[in-house]
Amino acid sequence: MSTENSAITPKRESLFSKKNRKLLKDPLGDSNPITIQVLGICSALAITVQLQQAVIMSLSVLFVMIGGNVIVSLLRNLIPDRIRIIVQLVIIASLVIIVDEVLKAYQPDISEKLSVFVGLIITNCIIMGRLEAFALANKPGPSVFDAIGNGMGYAWVLLAVSIVREIFGSGAISLPGMGQVKFLPEEWFIASGGFYENNNLMILPPMALVVVGIIIWIQRSRNEALIED
């Protein structure tokens, strides 16, 4: 238990101390869960056909991640070691079920498109990994930063991939609540006598892998620390 006392601890760690900034920043770049650790790839490939799906998925993962990290961090001195993985799984699964139910009630169309992938957040290695590696050994404060960092690290890759895929695959961009906005004029398309055709390969799963691959390529070529011999 804490023995700290305001009289003998003159310096409290500030909210944006170097350590906390590192917790937030690292997962966005140098230790990104998708591009560097290659975790959580399955959902990143499956649901990035439309931006609105990626946004909802990212928010769901962020919610489960923060919730899971905080709960596990608060309980870290109470959870029996022998059943800690089960406890973590129960916590994640409950949060995911809550997310699923809320989506079914408030975003029925997107919930239908995300189908099984909301449920599969339970098995997303990023979340389990952060609970086991970070929240179990750290205070709630830093755990929140760690969760936000990793959640955002997951989110920006999803958003980037889905923007590329939706623009080139459907000639449109979509946001939750706004529906899909087709910004290319109808006359441009070959079907109505134009010169342009959507690239169907873009909306197929293999292209997601290629786009993620390109992001990894750019990231590695820019950062020497990541270049392996």
Binding site: N77, L78, P80, V90, I98, K104, A105, Y106, P108, S115
Partner: protein, 251 residues
Amino acid sequence: MAFNKNATGYTFLFSIVMVLIVGIALAYTSLSLKPLQKKNESDKQMIDILGAVGITTTRENAKVDFPRFVKERLSLDFEGNVLNSTSGNVDPNDTSDPFNLDVKKDYRSKKPASELSFPLYICEKEGENIYVIPVAGSGLWGPIWGFVALKSDMKTLYGAKFDHKTETPGLGAEIKDKFFSDKFQGKQLRDSAPYFTIEKGGRNTDIHSVDGITGGTITSVGVGEMMNRTLSIYQLYFNSVINSQANNNEY
């Protein structure tokens, strides 16, 4: 630490308390969101029924469009006799409304047909009566369902719309896609069972069959099975309607 968190007794206590808390939290969430989810499901059902007759509507307009196009809702018994008939707006709490019959649940319950009632929607589009039949069955991984629309001759397929819960994306899940359901348009039912067949790839299809989905054989077989099982009940009703029409013409 005052207690040993690795003691067996404590581990059990922790698990029990955790399960109780989680159970209560989830039950509360589920119950409080139920009304909204039910409304969404009923809107979706209206969208799908209208979709089978080629009318596109949105979640916002479904409640208005549905009674405009669906002029009668019937429920039939297993011999094709009409049990109940309603029209107008749907009351989600009226259990006698055929719209509230849950064919998916009935299929899951595995009750014999004699204990079930079967809903039938009669839509009017461009002056023609179109009969919409809900179907439910099983695919490879879980339930599949849909709506089959017949023209006023009760033989020609006007359209179809299928959906699934957990079929494989890219394979069986494609029964949901437009390219698959479009194949049913204009096809005809045979006079006796099997009324309609979903063929496996490579075989020639005729006016009584469509090509199934490559790599989605079991889902395609499920679609054929649910259509034939359900149509065999509705055929009794259609025959009685055709007979009574013929009798009327004689006089």
